[in-house]
Structure formats: C-alpha cells, structure tokens
Subunit: 337 residues, 2 copies
C-alpha cells in the first residue's frame, strides 16, 4: 500500500510559466494530484525578495501563473491553489523560526550562496533574500508537507527545513511538525532555446500559451551543433537543444534514439529534426493554449479558484502556526497566559 | 498649542521591571499619557530573539510586566497595553520590510553591533536578532508612531525605521507612513547596586515590588567609594551608586547637592546616606508594592486589560499593514488582483 503524502510546491509569479516548467514540474504535478494531497503556492511574497522595486509586475503575474496551472490540467478538486501573501501564518512562523537559525548557517546555505552570486547581489543582499530558506521552511511546515518536489540545487533547503523541524520538536518535546523529504525530478532541467538556463526574462523560453508562429520561430533559433554544417556531417547530441526538447516531449523514445544515432553518424539535417520538434510542441501546446485563452475570458472564475484554495490553506496554516506557537514557544492566547 | 504625538514604547518581558525602568521610562510614560496617545507594547516576540530556548520564561513575564505597568500608575483609559505576539500585522510588515534593507546595512547598525558583542553571539547570531531593527521598524510604523522614547544607544534604530518609511513612501508614491523622532530620556541610566548595568539577570537591580528588607539589603550592598573608609575621609560622588539613586529619586535637589558637597569634603559617612536612600526608596516603592500585590490577586483583570488593549492595537496595526501592502507592494486581496 502506498503512502499518501502531503505535497507543497509552487512558483514565484514573476512571469507566465514556460515549457521548462511544464517538463520539469507541471506534468509531474498532474500525475501526483491523483495520489497525494497537493498544494500549489503562488509565492508572491517570495517573489518580492528580489523584486521589491516592481511589485505591480509580481501582482500581475499571480493570475498568469494560476491560468497556467488550470490550462495544463491542474484539477482544483484534487489540488489546492493558494496565494502566499494571503496566509498570515507563514510570516508568523518565519518570524519564530528566525530565532532558531543563525546568520552563519544561512550564509553557508549553498542554494543561497549560488543565487546571491547569480543575481549579483554581493554584500548588498536584501535581508529577506538571505532569510528565504527560513521562509521556505515556514511554507513547508505550515502545510505539514512531507514531500517537496525540488531540483538538486534546492536540496539544502529541505535540509534547512528539517533542522528547523527538529529544533521545534525539541522545544515542544513532541512531534509537532513532520520532517519532509525531497522529491527529486527525474527529468533533467530543460535548457532555453540558446542552450543557457531558460527564463522568461532572458527571452529564451517558450511560453505555455505560445502561438504556432512563436513555436516555429523559437525552434528555428534553437542551438544545435555549430560543427554540424551539412546534413551529411556527423553531429553532437550532447548540448544540442533540439534533442533536449525531443527527450522531454517525444513519447516515442525508440524513434528519438534512432534519430540520435543517425545524427551522430551524419546524414540527418537540423531542419528535419526541427520540423519534427515543431509538430511535437504544437501537439503539446495547442490544447493548453486553447484552454488558457478560454480561461482568460473569465478571470473572475480564476480569482474564485485562488480565493477558495487560499481559504482552505488559511485554515491549515493557521492551525499549524497556532500549535507551533503554543507548544514550542509558549505563546498562548492572552486569556490562557 | 502643542502637538499630540502617537507614542510607541514598551518592554521585553524577560523579568519583572525594576527601579532602573521606573527612573528611566515608567515615570515619564505616566507624564506622557496625559498629553499624547501612547501604546506600551509587551514585546514577547522580540524577547524570543535571544531567549528562544526559554519561551516559558518569556510567557510568565508578560503578566509581570503588565502588573508593573498598572502598579506604577499607567492609566489604561489613556494608554493602550498590547501584546506583540498577538498582532499578526507586525510579522507581516517585518516580512515586507526585510526586502527593503540589506544585510550589510543591518550589520552596520551600531546598536545591533553592540548588543551582539554584549550577548557574546559572535558569528552565531540568530537571524532574528540581526533583523530586529526591521522588526522594530514594523512595530513603530504599524502604530504610525511619531515619537519613540529611547536611550541614546537606540537612536540608530530610529534612523533605520525612517529609512524604511522613506522607502515605503517612495514605493507608494505617497506619504503612507509618518517618519518618527526619538524622544531622548533626560535622566541618565540608573546603575545596578554594584555600579554595573542594572539587570534582573545580573541580580543587581531593585524590583518594583521589593520588600522593605530587600530594599535595605540592596542599598547596604551599594557600591560607593572604596577610598572613603572613614566618615571623615573625602569621598567621590562620581560613580557612587548611592548618589546616582538620590539624584534619580530625591525630589529635594538642594539637599542632595549639599550632601554631595559634604561627602566630597569629608565628614559624611556612607551609612547616613544609605539610611536616607532606604527611606526614600521605601517611600517610592511602598505604594507600588501595595498596588502590585492587590492586582496580583486578580490576574483575570490584568489579562482583560491586555486583551482589550491588544484588540485596539490589532485594529490599528491591521489597518496600517493593509495600506502598506496595497499601496507600496501591490498586494491586493485576491478579488481585486
């Protein structure tokens, strides 16, 4: 008999989602919602940790991300979609946990280190950014999540969360919070069309609502093998973005393996491959695009979905925060103090 | 015509208050409540930043501090007594402000620097402790306080708060929050009986509920001038704890000046001075002690006072947080997103 897990995952609303999200997380969420309790947190507060100067941009993208969720097939009878900023228990728990984690420990966090470097913050990191492993621990534990889908680069976040869980449970002298485990993605991260990390801001990602022309244009600019000039030349498969996308989306793995062999040997042109990928992506994206367009006509419905999910999430997270306050920090309501 | 200010001040509930608090802040709060809107915040969350290991100790002292407030004459028709941990808007605002302040800025804060040193944290500061200037800014601004009584060592906290206020107002493109100013105490900090900094934990402070025997014992151990062996010897007034207490509590400044002159010249024994101080302190403490004992018989009433004050404070702070969220961070409720 398989265990039913509580899963917390989500996205920062800094732009509409793209095919990288679809391959890396959205598809597996659709599978997971059949077996587990799942909450998708639209992390608008976390997005502000490095977008404090453009809050309107974050606010706008809350609905975009929710649209993406619904368009790809997230079933709100099985999955809760909640908005982080409307759950006061999260800031409450983060504030309490901040007393349990040292600055030195946060500075040693490899994920924080890497992201600080990537964002070019140097010493001028916003305090909220340094402390975001604590906020993530608050999010995860508030939902009593036991399974958290992450990339390998996020594993230190899970370790930090479990350190806090053990600290809280020691303070409470009881198992108030469950430890969680990382659910590592089996699919490698999908690159951007230029072979670098895909991101909306870099303009190298394919949006979930991309039109046929946008798909064609994106695939045609895809990085392949600069040494593969004539179709008859042998070509490299590793680092070839077209093959990365075929691996991610082509259900016929045997056919892809055969194409790779022909490409390596020489005799298979980029245009043939790209045509196959364009058809394949259009096949995947067409129903999502249609669904997204239909939902975009009824944003009131999308808002209602977020409101309902957030109300459910508020009940769960308030209950957890109340128990952590009372049992680990002796913060009783006044009447009982 | 004098301006009516909104004052926020308060205490960390880490022990009952003592004569140092009385001389340094409680007496002036009694005066201020006649002229201004005043809130006293019992800062239990802030106390946890360096007492995470002993939350029950903090919880116990919430009522002790409230008892002290009421016993010295805080009038709850004029002053609001509120409990920090029961005001969710404070963690909410602190979380938002954390994105506006860099780690480097927090590390440069002289008050934080000094307190880190004093508490021996070195690099192992809890994150909550490093970030407590942000929490203080959240507290002050949540009440839209314009006047904050502080010691000179806390002036950098006010500067940090006003930096955040200006940042929020720039983001909102409107004066959402008022800047605040420091109200510096005119009375020097009252030393402990041994001449070092007075604190309950050091056991060198005189509690507001001290018995006559406790007062006598404390005054008799007071540090005077080790060179002043015989009454006829000339004695030092500077650093002499007995004179520090006489300066703080003896209304007859002329008489104290005369005693100082005689002490310096030689011919005035410590015992005479200490007897005077014992009588004086008993005169100040006796009514507080009686009032404190009476109130301690009815802790339900004290809890009601805190509950009522906290409910008023919740209304004010929720309103401010809602406005900051909406106007500076575009965090609308979902229905309006």
């Amino acid at each position: 008999m398989s265990v039913i897990h509580t899963i917390l995952t989500g996205d920062r609303p800094t732009g509409p989602l793209h095919l990288g999200h679809y391959a890396g997380s959205l598809r597996s969420r659709i599978a997971l919602q059949g077996e587990h309790r799942q909450t998708l947190l639209i992390a608008d507060l976390q997005a502000l940790t490095d977008n404090a100067g453009r809050p309107a941009h974050v606010a706008t993208n809350v609905l975009e991300v929710a649209l993406d969720y619904l368009a790809v097939g997230i079933d709100t009878d099985r999955t809760t979609i909640a908005l982080q900023s409307q759950l006061p228990a999260l800031a409450d728990l983060a504030t309490l946990y901040m007393n349990l984690v040292t600055v030195a420990r946060l500075e040693r966090n490899p994920t924080v280190k890497a992201e600080i470097e990537q964002r070019g913050f140097a010493r001028d990191i916003p305090a909220g950014f340094l402390c975001y492993p604590v906020s993530q621990a608050a999010d995860i534990t508030a939902f009593r999540a036991t399974l958290v889908p992450v990339g390998d680069d996020q594993v230190p976040m899970i370790e930090q969360t479990n350190e806090i869980v053990r600290r809280v449970n020691r303070l409470a002298n009881a198992d108030v919070l469950p430890e969680c485990e990382a659910l590592l993605s089996r699919t490698p991260r999908l690159p951007g069309v230029d072979g670098r990390k895909a991101s909306k801001s870099a303009g190298n990602a394919i949006a979930l609502g991309a039109t046929p022309d946008e798909i064609t244009a994106a695939v045609n600019t895809m990085y392949t093998d600069p040494g593969h000039v004539r179709a008859s030349d042998p070509g490299r498969v590793e680092g070839n973005v077209v093959f990365a996308y075929l691996d991610a989306f082509d259900a016929d793995a045997m056919a892809v393996a055969e194409l790779k062999a022909r490409y390596r040997h020489g005799g298979l042109g980029d245009m043939v491959l790209k045509r196959r990928l364009i058809d394949l992506l259009e096949h995947h994206i067409a129903p999502i695009r249609a669904q997204r367009a239909a939902l975009a006509q009824d944003l009131g419905y999308v808002r209602t979905i977020i409101e309902r999910g957030t109300a459910i999430a508020r009940g769960i997270t308030d209950e957890t925060a109340g128990e952590v306050r009372r049992r680990a920090f002796s913060l009783d309501p006044i009447a009982a103090a």
